[in-house]
Amino acid sequence: MIASLRRLGLLACALLAAPLSLGMETTTPRDMWFGAVEQQYAELSAASERLEASAARFCQAPDEAHKQRLEDDWLSAYQAWQAVRFIQFGPVEQNSRGWQLQFWPDRKNLVGRKVSGWLKAPDAPDVQAIANDSVAIQGFPALEYLLYDDAMDEQVLSDPAVCDLMQSITTHLADTTSALHRDWQAFGEHYRNTPRYTETTLASAIQALELLEEKRLGDPMGLQGTSANGYLAEAWRSGHSVRLVESTLEGLRTGFLPGLSALLREADAVALAEAFRDQLNDALAQASELQPGLVPSLEDEEAFRGLQSLYLNISQLRHLLGNEIAAELGLVRGFNSSDGD
């Protein structure tokens, strides 16, 4: 309750803040990126509040309909995060918010250990206890464990202690995404007025595509020098790995492509913008044809070929942005947090 009031207060502040640069005569690529991302963070925040409300409703009346609604709201909030995950700088860097929403990769099952640890505790944690604990307990994967893990066959989700844990996590998540949205709005002026953020935004999108290619698909599929391992996929517990990939691609289409196209028009390189758009649409079309999970496709040759096609589409997309477009725009990339092994 306290957390929700805090959010209302923040919302009021946000409304007082200057709106988008609608009055400006020219719209720069950074203006376009800022506005599109603002909408994506707004949607993430709204979807997280729906998830929070849905968890509360389920805990009051734990029936099948409410359970289904809870699962749907969990997935749509998780997808809203995937859509804006290509922004890896700015307010999302504060307090490791990206990891708060999704601690991944999680090779050693830290999410499972942290959730099962709280399930064994005498008292469920409140929101503050979740805020003070590991990022592995704070995000969508922890909720996925509660909703889908095999171990939950022995625990009843509607059990008050389990429900309290779930609600503390969903409230914390709603607080985090609300703050993220507000902080992005406050970040806007600095972002729009600072030219180097053009390079930062491009580099961030390239990094997101590299992550998609190498870690989110390549590693679990066994295409990065080690063998296939479905546990390395995101959302393996719920079987939604491919849907999350699709949401990231969709987020690039709505959040990144318009600004990129404007930038390439300025650079007199419209053909590259069109090539990126077409390649992104191909990847999206391929993703939408696949089944939601990644793991079943590891065992099924035909399904695996479909996944390989998606992987190749994304490789080409990454190559286009990271090599051809970056070279055209003279982008010099520095170090990033995923250097190392």
Binding site: T226, Y231, F335, S337
Partner: protein, 426 residues
Amino acid sequence: MPAIMLRRPLAGIVALSALMPFAAIADDAVTADAVVHHYADLAHANYADALNAAEVLNERIDELLANPTAETLNAAKQAWLQSRIPYQQSEVFRFGNAVVDDWEGQLNAWPLDEGMIDYVEGDDYQHELGNEGATANIIANERITVGGETLDVSDITPEQLADLNEIGGSEANVASGYHAIEFLLWGQDLHGFEAGNGERPVSDFQTGDDCTHGHCDRRRTYLDAVSDLLVDDLEWMVAQWAPETEGNYRQELLAESDQEGLRRMLFGMGSLSLGELAGERMKVALEANSYEDEHDCFSDNTHNSHYYNGQGIQNIYTGTYQRLDGSVVEGPSLEDLLAQENGELADTLSEQMEATMARLDAIKQAAEAESSPMAFDMMIAPGNEQGSELINEAILTLVAQTGSLEKAAGELGVTSLQPDDAGHQF
């Protein structure tokens, strides 16, 4: 390339020539070529020390196996701790030089699923999800089955252990290297966030009826083989950096352009600073409160591993390496070269690296304090504000120096800070 490098320094030389005799200036001017040559000298000295320390470790292990007592076990542990001092400094050579990166997995792979090597206590053992080799226990079994394949491991030899790395396609299947030896000397750390590290009894290496936890003969053979392999591997790397050796990596590196040499130096420094040390080794462990992500988790020597990583980065910048015998290797440095281009940036980077070392030293001092020491796995416990502040301060200084390394690259004409992407391009 060298001509381009000299164009801007010339302006400085002209200005200075009014104040100094010309000959002195010509002697003092540092070239990129000299800096890259000295970088290879630093690598050679550093790996030679790592080899010497590994040879001492190997001797102590032989003494432990000849006469397993608390004293000989402790002497072997001390030798392992000592061997980490040069090796962790050498990690700055890893990311820029594929010859190191492709080789180092056999020596320093981490984190590992130690249940592949020896017994573990089930309740507190969290291995990589989906890793079939995670509980193979080579010491207890002459045959192991991983990924549907049955392997004969009746003979434990250095070659066999090298082949067993990453069996079943998982990077967590680490059969050799420093951390495998660390696990064999210390054992699992079952203390979580509390004080204390692994408590393997020396009787695990005794023979006959005194043997504990079974299969002592195979455990002894394993420890002997794995320490021999470490020495062999380091001998190979020393040879790669040795002067005047036909066809070794040093020759290959020095045949590249100066720009490429500088790129490899800077890429190694920045990648270790940011992605590896600040990110993988500190921030993940801290933000996730995960002692599974502690670097030297069996011995609780993580503070030193981090400290000497930082020292290695500073070594390359200052062109200085203090050898284990106390002597100092010095020569033309990146700092000198950068100062010719941009004195202010050179000073800033120097101060930032000093700050990093001060923060890493604060972690080391806290972990080694006489009274109530706080090891790294205690610092990362949920709610430990003092611990998280110590680690966060070090992360921030590492991030700051990485920013300046990027600027330094720009000043020195290094336009790409990407790794070699052989095999990863579409």
